[in-house]
């Protein structure tokens, strides 16, 4: 269970998060929606400790994340960055297998490579891409390599920052199914940011809407259409009319 209480974060006078309260129960899939620039990516980074919140508390299994042993804490997580963030000095398979090749109980290179190729298959990439460098891939392919890297070490908790942006509808469907499968079959806790309502419905157990630095609405995905919240309704319908301003 990941629990956020009154998490605040500002960059100079840009008050991005103004008191976020959110619970993500273990083994469930939480999808965060919200306008561009509302701080969704920052929120994920706060949980991982990549960005230090100004105030508030974040706990994982009732333990304050700032007090845990960092290595053990991070070993439980996988993260897909919005921009994929692949290491451009390493070939694709070493990117995917990066964690498997580090640390005390690292895998032999052969086994790690096999695992990387298997994960690449799961995100719809052929084994030929394994020896290419990230710069030789298209944006959508890089995104999927990032996804393969996030799931490669089979972590308990995985964050996906816009996993399907830049993908064609068919591939987006494959990725949605993959994320759903990881959650239901492997009991992973997933937190996904997406703007794609098809993805939301395919992936989410619960949905939370971030707006103006706070969680405006949260509830089960099945109640998304009868949330009674004007922000959520406007977001689903994609209308320019409503409480969310089009110019931000």
């Amino acid at each position: 269970m990941i629990r956020l209480r009154s998490v605040c974060k500002s960059f100079d006078d840009n008050h991005v998060l103004r008191g976020v309260d959110l619970d993500i129960p273990q083994g469930t899939s939480m999808v965060i929606i919200g306008g561009s620039g509302t701080g969704k990516s920052v929120l994920l980074k706060c949980i991982l400790g990549l960005v230090t919140p100004d105030a508030g508390q974040i706990t994982l299994d009732d333990e304050d994340v700032t007090r845990t042993e960092r290595d053990a804490f991070l070993a439980r997580f996988g993260m897909l960055f919005q921009g994929a963030a692949l290491f451009d000095s390493l070939p694709v398979w070493q990117n995917v297998a990066f964690r498997l090749l580090q640390g005390r109980d690292r895998m032999p290179a052969e086994a790690a490579r096999d695992r990387a190729i298997e994960k690449l298959r799961r995100v719809g990439l052929k084994s030929e891409v394994a020896d290419l460098f990230p710069a030789e891939l298209s944006g959508g392919m890089q995104k999927r390599v990032g996804l393969a890297r996030a799931i490669a070490a089979e972590p308990e908790i995985i964050f996906f920052d816009e996993p399907t942006t830049g993908l064609d509808p068919i591939m987006a469907g494959v990725i949605n199914d993959l994320i759903r499968e990881i959650v239901t079959e492997m009991g992973v806790t997933a937190m996904t940011i997406t703007h794609d309502m098809t993805s939301v419905r395919a992936i989410a157990d619960n949905v939370a809407m971030l707006h103006d630095g706070v969680i405006k609405w949260t509830g089960p995905a099945s109640e998304l259409d009868r949330s009674g919240d004007a922000h959520v309704r406007q977001f689903i319908t994609g209308s320019a009319e409503g409480p969310i301003e089009a110019v931000r």
Binding site: G78, G83, D88
Partner: protein, 261 residues
């Protein structure tokens, strides 16, 4: 009143800023060096750094040194002629190259070539979230990116300096024997007999210090890069400036230390 104190305030802020910078860089350097000593070691990163900083810098070091050695011989010859002391060319070329010009020029070339590339590479990794990705993959960027580069520079720049010293001396030798009429065997003898162990030690110590500074500045400014392409550009510029100035300042201090010995 405020117009009187404003310059003082600016001066105070600037000195505080400067002190803060020195403090942050020192802490960064200590952290990086502590990672050099503690496992895990990233052998592959270290090997790549050795090749990039050492092997691939040889051409630029060699060219810098040979032209400098030649020009130095000419200058000393011309200057020495004013008081009939042309014969000191081999001795002064040797001392000038080994104690001063070899280390400083190699240091500055490393600042231009290595500091800039380290800063740009790490800054790009920072702005594209690769540094964040490293952290989430339980890898300390200080250990994975900084420590191998700093260690490689500490070890390999003294070697580059030694190579630069030798090639510089050879440049002087080639010019002096080729166009100033010096006897080859006598030139070499004079050079070898004149140089002392402390000359060579000071050269290598300087190389070690300059290499460490060059790599540290690249890493520090890269890791603290601002956002976007502009951030990368700025990080690179500041890194090279800082490395060059610190190398010259360290040269001044170290020369003082070796003189007082």
């Amino acid at each position: 009143m405020s117009s009187l104190t404003a310059p003082l305030g600016a001066l105070g802020r600037a000195s505080l800023g400067g002190l803060g910078f020195v403090g942050r860089v020192t802490l960064f350097a200590l952290a990086a060096l502590s990672h050099v000593l503690r496992p895990p070691f990233y052998a592959r990163e270290f090997g790549q750094a050795l090749v990039n900083i050492g092997w691939l810098s040889l051409p630029v070091v060699g060219l810098t040194a040979i032209f400098t050695g030649g020009a130095l011989a000419l200058q000393i010859y011309a200057g020495g002629a004013r008081f009939n002391a042309e014969a000191v060319v081999p001795q002064i070329v040797a001392v000038g190259m080994v104690r001063e010009l070899g280390p400083v020029l190699v240091g500055l070339m490393i600042a231009a070539r290595v500091t800039s590339s380290i800063a740009a590479e790490i800054a790009t990794m920072k702005v594209t979230e690769q540094i964040d990705a490293l952290v989430t993959l339980s890898t300390d960027p200080l250990k994975y990116l900084v420590a191998p580069r700093v260690l490689a520079a500490l070890l390999v720049v003294p070697v580059l300096v030694a190579v630069g010293d030798l090639i510089g001396i050879f440049g002087g030798y080639a010019l002096a024997t080729g166009s100033l009429g010096f006897n080859a065997a006598a030139y070499l003898n004079n050079t070898i007999n004149f140089l002392e162990a402390t000359d060579i030690i000071s050269s290598l110590v300087k190389g070690c210090a300059f290499g460490g500074l060059a790599a540290l500045m690249g890493c520090y400014f890269g890791m603290h890069s601002g956002r976007g392409a502009q951030g990368v550009g700025r990080a690179t510029k500041y890194a090279v400036e800082a490395a060059a100035v610190l190398i010259l300042a360290a040269n001044f201090l170290l020369t003082g230390v070796f003189f007082s010995l």
